[in-house]
């Protein structure tokens, strides 16, 4: 993967909380580089795993993508970890080898793909890590936790966008052994830690009867180091709130009742999840990263009108069981009604935007 130096303005003064009044917005460029997850007008689960190879100039250019929200997201993670210790970051005691694997994977990827921001210098096991975006310059001994201020996984993922769940292979299944999950979508890490693949997918409807779960697990168990795979997923959420865990549900769920067909454009956000899975070389664990992107319906209409039309159609035809599971039953109608105003019914391209002839954001209606 070659790195293409580019100039990104990092928006440090951003918040993802009501206390911070949700000061968050996407630039036009940030919207048009999203890994838009709707290849067709109708949406249903599929085994949408594909090799994680560099594609295009957007979010799929790097192994682990960063964008203009990097600095503010790292600050948000720090805030969440301080607010609720023991809730968002957990690692079972025997996961230390996988933790070092994680650190290596993130730091090597960042320094290779974004050399203007990150530098990793190795001299045997003596490593130096420079993160110019956060003003970090640390030296440590790889494999010796005493030389780092925090667990290797906490140290590295505090400097990364997205969340990370580490799955260990045991008895032909994958078990959650560690997680940095300050951006959870309605689940609890404390509760799910130690669960196997079938168990933590238990609440998801239809997967099992469709046979997707078994096939996905078999596929993942065959993964080899150096050959990552990816999939995209999505949901809707209200406000640009990253932390929507089960634990804090009383704080964020009331917002769902505040959406109307008039304010849906500003209040409702498409939450896109890019999940690039890697087999880790020493521990043989698999890391399941969830890189989350938030974009309001109004931002989609303004900067990516064809994606807004596609989203309208996918939501309008969505299976009611998925509407319930994804938690937007109460405002699904308002979102569809708001989006309908911007959909002229014109035919749209099929396929993800990063494949040839896939759906592109469309002409820019602003400017």
């Amino acid at each position: 993967m070659t790195a293409i130096p580019r100039t990104t303005d990092f928006t440090a003064d951003e918040t993802y909380t009501p206390e911070g009044e949700y000061r968050f917005q996407n630039s036009r460029e940030a919207v048009r580089r999203l890994p838009f997850p709707f290849p067709d007008d109708e949406y249903m689960y599929s085994m949408n795993l594909e090799p994680h190879v560099a594609a295009g100039t957007g979010a799929l250019r790097a192994a682990f993508d960063i964008d203009e929200h990097y600095v503010s997201e790292c600050a948000h993670r720090d805030q969440m970890l301080r607010d609720m210790p023991g809730v968002h970051y957990l690692a079972l005691p025997h996961m230390m080898e996988a933790q070092w694997d994680m650190l290596e994977l993130i730091f090597e990827s960042y320094s290779r793909d974004f050399p203007e921001h990150f530098t990793l210098t190795k001299n045997g096991n003596e490593w130096r890590w420079q993160n110019r975006l956060l003003g970090i310059d640390d030296s440590f001994t790889f494999g010796d936790p005493a030389t780092l201020p925090l667990d290797p996984m906490e140290y590295s993922t505090r400097q990364a966008q997205g969340e990370f769940v580490v799955l260990e292979e045991k008895d032909n299944t994958l078990v959650i052994g560690a997680g940095m999950t300050t951006q959870r979508a309605d689940y609890s890490l404390q509760f799910n830690l130690g669960m196997n693949f079938a168990e933590f997918h238990g609440p998801v409807p239809k997967l099992d009867t469709m046979g997707i779960l078994d096939r996905a697990l078999k596929f993942l168990l065959r993964m080899k180091p150096g050959h990552p795979v990816r999939r995209v997923n999505w949901s809707l959420t209200v406000n640009p709130r990253l932390e929507t865990s089960v634990e804090t549900l009383p704080d964020w769920a009331p917002d769902r009742a505040k959406v109307t067909p008039e304010n849906a454009g500003e209040m409702v956000y498409l939450r896109i999840e890019l999940q690039p899975l890697h087999r880790l070389p020493r521990s043989n664990a698999i890391v399941f990263p969830v890189r989350t992107y938030l974009v309001s319906l109004a931002e989609l209409v303004a900067h990516a009108p064809d994606w807004a039309k596609r989203l309208h159609r996918a939501l309008a035809s969505l299976d009611p069981e998925l509407v319930d599971y994804k938690g937007f039953h109460r405002y699904h109608g308002a979102a569809v009604e708001w989006l309908a105003k911007y959909d002229d019914g014109a035919p749209l391209a099929t396929g993800y935007p990063w494949i040839e002839d896939g759906i592109q954001p469309g002409p820019d209606s602003v400017d």
Partner: protein, 201 residues
């Protein structure tokens, strides 16, 4: 037998003597005592002589099998007035247990789950433990908001004694916490509660 569509719930076994065991410990609560009576009846005299029984007389349904259990010539029968004390007794027993020990558990899901937490802390593998559910379908529930554990929950919607919120019990079970998940029932609109029902599975 507990058969439901809940994927994260443990699949329970049927207790039967494990021939590979050099020493046996059988712990039960309430109705689980009846299961132990059946298990002990299937054991050889040698197995009985190397078996320790722990029995808690705490019962949600009022079943007490102590008299029947006393009829077996086991190595040791320890009786506890509560499930918490029986689990603590199991912890003390396993502290000095030797390789080749086999564990049998029977009773409510909460009792089996909390006993399994103890067994796991001693590194016991699933092939060294058998679990059989007995008695009512009461659930142990963890409150996602205040981390309070409620024992013997019988309704889909209940008030958390820890934070006074009305919780809905999700059909999602954590072995690590040995509990189902409870979340605020009227999270979206205060007072708008989901349908209540008896938790009969």
């Amino acid at each position: 037998m507990l058969i439901t569509g809940i994927k994260s719930r443990p699949v329970y076994d049927e207790l039967t003597p494990m021939a590979t065991g050099l020493s046996h410990v059988a712990a039960a609560q309430g109705s689980g005592g009846g299961v132990l009576v059946r298990l002990l009846g299937e054991m050889t005299p040698e197995q009985l002589a190397t078996t320790t029984v722990l029995y808690s007389t705490e019962s949600f349904t009022g079943k007490n099998h102590l008299a029947d259990l006393q009829a077996f010539p086991v190595r040791e029968l320890l009786v506890f007035p509560s499930n918490t004390e029986a689990v603590r007794g199991l912890d003390a027993f396993l502290l000095t247990a030797e390789m080749g020990t086999r564990l049998y558990l029977s009773g409510s899901e909460g009792f089996i789950g909390t006993s399994m937490q103890v067994a796991t802390s001693y590194g016991m593998n699933t092939d060294e433990v058998l679990r059989e559910h007995a008695g009512s379908f009461v659930r142990r529930v963890w409150c996602a908001h205040c981390s309070h554990y409620s024992e013997n929950v019988t309704r889909r919607v209940f008030r958390c004694p820890g934070c006074e919120r009305d919780l809905v019990v999700r059909d999602h079970y954590s072995r690590r916490l040995a509990a189902f998940q409870g979340v605020k029932a009227d999270g979206e609109v205060p007072g708008e509660l989901p349908d209540d029902e008896e938790l009969d599975t």
